[in-house]
């Protein structure tokens, strides 16, 4: 009764546009702070080279930012265009953080960013530094509200279903904002953005050092980035671990799927370092395990169990049966024929209403579901483990690899021998894409792991779509692919062009490849003329 192709396409479009958007977000989050730090050093020490650094990295920041804005536009409207039932069903709760994000954060970031780019000669030093700070602060504040919204999809607290309005309604705004999932997610995500910017600045600076050009400029940029990066990568990993604990608490299914833990292991659960999960048979064909570790991460104890997928499915089957009762009671309430008894029954079972809705994939009225359909719906209630198992491990491995690289960079930078470590510098150049891969697979784990729910245990994804047609979706996906890919290619070309030309693009006459002073400034590449 549901057009599976249409639902798949709706999901693909969202995944595609969101993942494109997140190619640009992390660099914005991190590079804005790096630029701010450079500019702060300039304001404090008056050394012009730091202003040049802020302006040059700010230029690259701008090239990236333009596409962040472009792809972000889609996101603000896409819930309405493609997820109309979602918008109706949870807009009362989910819309608020999005709107507040606009009012409180996005206005701040976007209003000042124009002055950041174009106001260098219109503002005093301190004014410009303040503008840079507000831009960075605004973009990070944006991330906070977006992650509050996203966290609510994962763990919908502070809200309740209303039979009168047929939707979720906010019952406690503070609970929505202080959602524990939002807090760990926010720090984990912005810190991942800081690491992205770090790897970006390290890689490009390393390349200048390898080419023996703009050395003073490159080394200073490198120093700023690796100090910032070390703190950031540690936050990412610590908060990643904290997410594991949060998941063990509120998203047991996602955790079990990431671990491909089909059967509940005895406490404390082991962590599977390597394995071959098989979703058909629900067993791991091969596994290499480290005892205790998962139990410690997920429960912070040696005695609590981490529930396996099979047991979770059995629990869900119970909740689906309870959801059927809720659904029947709701029909009576909507028809105005409910007795006091029915109302009480609804109150008792309404937290399982979402599970009842899972049956709508197979029958119009959940009450008509057969045992086989209920079993199928229970099977649907867990995501495929294998893709999560692998993407999660890729993310973690990349995290530790970047930790190692940043520690080495930090160490040799401190010893002042970094420019001699050619192997490390080359490794850093080729590692530029790593943080992007880690971010994208990280989001895949977070969102694919939420399936089959659009809103955890409340609204199944397949019910959340708009009433469009497959043709509409093919048209829009093609359009997005065409535009985004075209724009991405243009962005990359410009980025590579400006990164290769380096600080000479500022036209100050002080840098590699410039023929003469632009405005009477002395030429000594890499030197730091005082203003």
């Amino acid at each position: 009764m549901f057009d599976e192709t249409f639902i798949e396409l709706s999901r693909w479009q969202f995944a595609l546009t969101a993942m494109y958007h997140f190619l640009f977000v992390p660099l914005t989050l991190g590079l804005s702070w790096i630029v701010f730090m450079m500019e702060a050093v300039y304001v404090m020490t008056n050394k012009v080279i730091y202003r040049d650094m802020a302006r040059f990295w700010g230029k690259l920041f701008g090239i990236n930012f333009a596409l962040g804005v472009t792809t972000g536009l889609t996101m603000e409207f896409q819930f309405g265009t493609n997820w109309a039932y979602y918008s109706h069903y949870v807009g009362d709760v989910f819309g608020a953080p999005l709107a507040i994000e606009g009012l409180m954060a996005f206005f701040l970031e976007s209003t000042f960013i124009g002055l950041f780019f174009l106001g260098w000669d219109r503002l005093s030093k301190r004014q410009h530094l303040t503008v840079t700070f507000l831009t960075a602060f605004g973009s990070n504040l944006s991330a906070l509200w977006i992650l509050v919204a996203n966290a609510w999809m994962q763990n919908p607290v502070g809200a309740e279903f209303s039979a009168e309005t047929m939707r979720m309604e906010m019952t406690n705004f503070a609970e929505v904002v202080l959602n524990p999932v939002a807090q760990v997610k926010f720090v984990h995500t912005v810190a991942a953005g800081y690491v992205t910017a770090t790897m970006f600045v390290l890689g490009i600076s390393a390349w200048y050092m390898l080419k023996g050009r703009d050395l003073a400029f490159a080394k200073r940029s490198f120093s700023v980035a690796c100090a910032f990066g070390l703190a950031s990568i540690l936050s990412v990993i610590v908060l990643g671990d904290e997410s594991g604990y949060e998941m063990g608490d509120v998203q047991k299914v996602k955790l079990a799927a990431i671990e491909a833990e089909y059967d509940t292991a005895e406490a404390p659960a082991p962590f599977t370092l390597f394995g071959l999960p098989n979703d058909e048979t629900m067993t791991k064909d091969v596994e290499v395990q480290v005892p205790w570790v998962l139990g410690l991460i997920a429960t912070r104890s040696a005695t609590e169990e981490v529930t396996g997928l099979k047991d979770l499915m059995a629990e869900h089957e119970e909740r689906i049966r309870s959801g059927i009762l809720a659904s029947q009671a709701l029909d009576e309430i909507r028809a105005g024929t409910a007795s006091g008894e029915t109302l009480a029954l609804f109150e008792e079972h309404k937290n399982d209403l979402g599970y009842g809705l899972l049956l709508k994939r197979y029958v119009a009225d959940p009450a008509d579901a057969t045992d086989a359909q209920i079993a199928q719906a229970a099977r649907d209630s867990i995501p495929a483990a294998a893709p999560l198992f692998w993407t999660f491990r890729i993310m973690v491995a990349l995290g530790f690899l970047m930790l190692a690289l940043i520690v080495l960079a930090f160490w040799f930078n401190m010893r002042r021998t970094i420019h001699k470590q050619r192997w490390l510098l080359w490794t850093l150049v080729f590692s530029i894409p790593l943080p992007w891969i880690a971010c994208e697979v990280g989001w895949f784990v977070a969102e694919y792991g939420r399936q089959p729910w659009a809103i955890g245990e409340v609204l199944p994804t397949f019910l959340a779509t708009s009433s469009l047609t497959t043709g509409d979706l093919i048209f829009s996906i093609s359009g997005f692919l065409l535009f985004y890919t075209g724009l991405l290619v243009i962005e990359m070309v410009l980025m590579v062009y400006f990164a290769r030309k380096g600080p000479a693009t500022l036209g100050t006459g002080r840098y590699h490849g410039e023929t003469g002073p632009a405005s009477g400034a002395p030429v000594h590449p890499g030197a730091q003329p005082a203003e």
Binding site: T81, I113, G114, L494, Y497, A518
Partner: protein, 384 residues
């Protein structure tokens, strides 16, 4: 302070109006400027002048659109769901056109190739003209009503595939509304350019503003006559109390020929909206003509306010009337969020919108002044 539900519902109707007007005055100006770019700027230097009058501000201005989108989501979730999915193709067209703006503004002057720059100039034209036109077309369709109904789960459904529904969307009345919207934003952008440039660009902008102003007045008058004599409006026959929990299916609605004019007999003060619309446009033209574009800009801002309010009050309390199932129509009373969400969002607006206005004014003030080619030449890569 706890405001009661009915009052909040009305305040939110006003707030959405304010956000849309804020969007028109700020980002609408950028769209007008984008539309005029290839015509008032003949050389690359002139075009850079045009672009740099809005260069530092277009990004902040665009947030009015994004915030309006978010606010509609939070305050009128049913409207957000039904309008944006129902106008799917139109929304895509707007989005695709808007994509040209961030990259157009930011990338255009980064390379010196003339071909590259001219391509982006047309990109900025499309990013200005297409949304300006489509937003008017969308309002035209709201006035006419949209073929949709809500099922028992309150899920919106539409008649026919939306791919084919794009054509009826572009009917003559809706296109006329599109002309109103495009012309008023072009007028607005032209007055802005006249104020912020000098020489040939300012002169051409003055001429363009006068033409666009005349078109605005004519098309707005024609649309008004059409609404009064050639079109059905919608009227609520019965509905639950205004402070009831929102249920769009609980009311009875009929259509009445010329029904959208009723508000002007019931509340004669409402006539102020169209009067300000006309007077603002005529004032902007007169002031622009005598070389007072600063006051002209204030006047054209009033024109936008008047015209948008005219559309709003004519339909009040309707937001999205349904032609195929009038009972499914969405109104400011029955398409809103819960009392709590409206309260929380009310405070968010009351606290943050004034702050936004303060720092926006500060940013404009810092970048104020006539933009000239010499000025851009001097700033080199520090300008767009």
């Amino acid at each position: 302070m706890i405001l009661d539900y009915e009052v909040l519902k009305f305040i939110w109707w006003l707030f959405v109006g304010v956000l849309l007007i804020g969007f028109a005055i700020t980002d609408g100006m950028d769209m007008g400027v984008g539309t005029l770019l290839p015509f008032v700027g003949k050389t690359d230097g002139e075009r850079r002048v045009v672009i740099n009058t809005v260069g530092p501000h277009w990004d902040g201005n665009q947030v009015w659109l994004i915030t309006a989108g978010g606010a509609i989501f939070a305050a009128w979730p049913a409207v957000y769901a039904a309008v944006f999915s129902g106008f799917y193709m139109a929304m895509l067209l707007v989005l695709f056109a808007l994509f040209f703006r961030p990259v157009g503004f930011d990338y255009r002057s980064k390379l010196t190739s003339q071909k590259w720059r001219k391509t982006w100039d047309w990109g900025l034209f499309a990013g200005g003209a297409i949304p300006a036109l489509i937003f008017g077309v969308a309002f035209g369709n709201l006035l006419q009503g949209v073929p949709f109904h809500l099922d028992a789960l309150l899920r919106p459904h539409y008649e026919g595939s939306l791919l084919t529904a794009l054509l009826p969307l572009l009917n003559p009345f809706a296109l006329l509304c599109g002309v109103v919207s495009l012309a008023m934003l072009v007028m607005h952008g032209a007055v802005w350019l006249q104020m912020r440039t000098d020489g040939a660009v300012a002169e051409r902008s003055r001429t363009a503003g006068l033409i666009a102003g005349a078109v605005t007045v004519g098309a707005f008058a024609l649309a008004g006559l059409w609404v009064a004599f050639g079109m059905d409006g919608f009227r609520i026959v019965s509905q639950p109390p205004l402070d009831a929990l929102p249920n769009p299916l609980a009311k009875e609605v009929t259509t009445v020929p010329g029904g959208w004019m009723r508000i002007y007999t019931d509340y004669p003060a409402a006539i102020l909206a169209p009067v300000v619309g006309f007077a603002g446009a005529l004032g902007a033209m007169a002031l622009s003509r005598i070389g007072r574009p600063g006051l002209g800009f204030v006047s054209s801002s009033l024109c936008l306010t008047g015209i948008i309010f005219t559309a709003g009050v004519s339909m009040f309390p309707f937001i999205l009337p349904s032609t195929t199932d009038p009972g499914s129509s969405l109104t400011a009373w029955d398409a809103t969020s819960s009392h709590l969400t409206l309260t929380v969002m009310f405070w968010a607006v009351v606290i943050f919108l004034p702050l936004v206005l303060i720092y926006t004014v500060w940013c404009y003030a810092r970048m104020w002044g006539v933009v000239t080619e010499d000025d851009i030449e001097r700033r080199g890569s520090g300008a767009y």
